[in-house]
């Protein structure tokens, strides 16, 4: 397999993630989009490091991305729970008490 294939898959994942984040109103949906973007970057890192003589930095970065994605999801879900308790919805277009 060539490097290009991985990069194209990474790009597609990233764009799908960005598209999801920009179009979804459901906060969980947006979180899923964010996961896609992070994984796209992780895939790029691993691919680059594989084709660069298994350079260790990329692998380490990918592992940290996985860990931090989990940490971020925990914080985001905690915030969503607090939101759900007060607003009874998690749609970002309905949670609007702060004015423009």
């Amino acid at each position: 397999m060539q490097l290009e294939y991985y990069l194209i898959i990474g790009l597609i994942l990233f764009l799908l993630g960005l598209y999801t984040c920009l179009t979804r109103v459901n906060a969980i949906g947006m979180l899923m989009g964010i996961e896609l973007m992070l994984n796209a970057a992780g895939l790029n890192f691993v691919a680059f490091s594989h084709f660069n003589g298994n350079h260790i930095d990329g692998h380490i970065m990918a592992i940290f991305i996985i860990v931090l994605a989990a940490a971020e999801a925990v914080v985001a879900l905690a915030v969503l729970l607090a939101i759900y308790k007060r607003f009874k919805v998690i749609d970002t277009d309905k949670v609007v008490t702060l004015k423009e």
Partner: protein, 490 residues
């Protein structure tokens, strides 16, 4: 430098990590109901002071690369670390007497732990010299800030602010990471110094990688086009946290932006990109601030505008510009924290000062400031100090904001960016309008009733005095501060 040898230069961060963990344990084991927050804040203050001392001790040791070059301990990093620590110390005093935070008093030890943790993250960010470290530190600061913004769990505004902040922050870090992965692919390393090796070839992919990485930093400093979270997050967050966010993480963002920026040289037109972003940021911030009726939200837009002014210094790309940015941050710290402190005191005073606009955010509305200067002695003091801070934020002599702006404009003129200086001056005039509208409301509008604000806490009154004194004093005698800043550059 190998890991064990680096440890002796890493003491400030080690102290902060220890204090953050101690506070978490303290929160679990202590049964001092009611007094818990007070003790926790004292532990946090002691830890921050100890850390500040060790940062100072390491000020003059050159710039050793620590942990195999992941961190670098140079003078700008030390300067920014002191800024974070001083901000955190002042904000801890705000937090001790904040009604919003006391509403959930049971977890106040965790609150201080998170605050110390975020200072730790910012310290790492200020000295990070590698994209892995930058990413970790950036996320560290972000995660702490998300929780702090949503800390007032009883308030729907706070939760909503945290939701917007968290979603926006996660997207920004995704974009940053994708840029970092492209950078890694092009250079084969995560060291930011490699920007120099590739910068002579303004290739599309490397420009894209640079822009994506820049987006992550712009999000941290709330610059256009990554500013959208800022007004909502600042308005909904508890006021001490708003004050903290408007100074410390912004300074951290600038620290890392300037480090990467100076490593990149002037390949792919960074100075021009930053100059355009700077012009857009200050224009947007100032224009959007004009119609605001909530003072906290108005100050949020004003902080966006100030990020624009600070970016002017970065755009000049000279040591003089960097010096101006450092000076401005010291000035911005005292005047901006002071303005938010007045907002907090007004919002906490009981009975509330309001002209009919009642609601969760009503205590921060401009209506509450109507005739503040005529509401007895304490009202007059609050009105006068607020005026001092606002005049200083506008950049009017003899206050410290004027000196800061003077240095920034001098640096921009020096770099021959005349159009940028012109936009900056036009923006200062615009900002005069909305700052003066608050002053007019305070002194020339009729108060709605005869309620007089009471200083519920001597501590807040004292820190208010210190901040307003510093705003005037440094405005008159700034030489010592500019000597410090010059030493940072040297």
């Amino acid at each position: 430098m190998p890991n064990l040898a680096s440890m002796s230069f890493f003491i400030p961060e080690l102290i902060l990590s220890a204090v953050a963990l101690i506070l978490f344990i303290f929160a679990l084991v202590s049964d001092k109901a009611g007094k818990k927050g007070e003790y926790a804040s004292v532990i946090a203050i002691a830890g921050l002071l100890a850390s500040a001392v060790f940062v100072l001790k390491n000020f003059n040791i050159g710039s050793p690369p620590l942990f195999w070059g992941l961190l670098v301990l140079d003078k700008p990093a030390a300067f920014f670390k002191e800024i974070f620590i001083i901000t955190a110390l002042i904000v801890i005093i705000f937090s001790q007497r904040s009604n919003e935070l006391r509403a959930g008093a049971n977890d106040s030890a965790e609150y201080y732990s998170l605050l110390v943790g975020s200072v730790l993250g910012m310290n790492l960010l200020a000295s990070a010299n590698n994209l892995l470290m930058i990413y970790l530190a950036l996320e560290f600061v972000s995660l702490m800030s998300f929780i702090l913004v949503g800390f007032a769990r009883g308030s729907s505004r706070s939760s909503e602010a945290a939701l917007k902040y968290v979603l926006y922050g996660a997207v920004a870090s995704g974009v940053f990471l994708y840029g970092a992965s492209l950078y890694y692919g092009l250079t084969g390393t995560l060291d930011i110094k490699s920007f120099l090796t590739i910068s002579p070839s303004p290739h599309l992919t490397i420009s894209l990688a640079g822009l994506f990485i820049l987006a992550g930093f712009l999000y941290k400093i709330a610059a256009v086009p990554m500013h959208a979270w800022c007004p909502d997050a600042y308005e909904g967050a508890p006021t001490p946290i708003t004050a903290f966010l408007s100074v410390a993480p912004k300074a951290a963002g600038f620290a890392v932006l300037m480090r990467v920026f100076s490593a990149a040289g002037d390949g792919f037109n960074w100075p021009l990109i930053i100059a355009v972003i700077s012009a857009a940021t200050m224009t947007f911030g100032n224009l959007a601030a004009i119609p605001q009726t909530n003072v906290k939200r108005l100050l949020a837009y004003s902080s966006i505008a100030h990020a624009g002014y600070l970016l002017m210094g970065v755009a000049s790309g000279t040591p003089r510009g960097a010096e101006a940015v450092y000076f401005y941050f010291a000035a911005y710290l005292v005047m901006n924290l002071g303005a938010f402190l007045v907002v907090q005191i007004i919002a906490n005073t009981s009975p509330p000062l309001m002209g009919g606009d009642i609601g969760e955010g009503g205590r921060e509305s401009l209506a509450a400031y109507k005739g503040l200067g005529r509401r007895g002695a304490s009202g007059a003091i609050l009105g006068i100090t607020m005026t001092i801070f606002l005049l200083s934020l506008t950049g009017i002599p003899p206050f410290v904001g004027f000196i800061g702006k003077f240095y920034i404009f001098a640096a921009v003129m020096d770099a021959k960016l005349y159009w940028l200086a012109f936009i900056g001056i036009a923006n200062s005039v615009v900002s005069l309008y909305y700052y003066m509208r608050i002053v007019k409301t305070i002194f020339f509008d009729e108060p709605a009733d005869a309620v007089q604000p009471a200083f519920s806490s001597r501590r807040l009154a004292a820190i208010l005095g210190v901040l307003s004194f510093a705003t005037i004093f440094i405005g008159l005698y700034w030489q010592w501060l500019s000597n410090i800043v010059a030493a940072v550059i040297a």
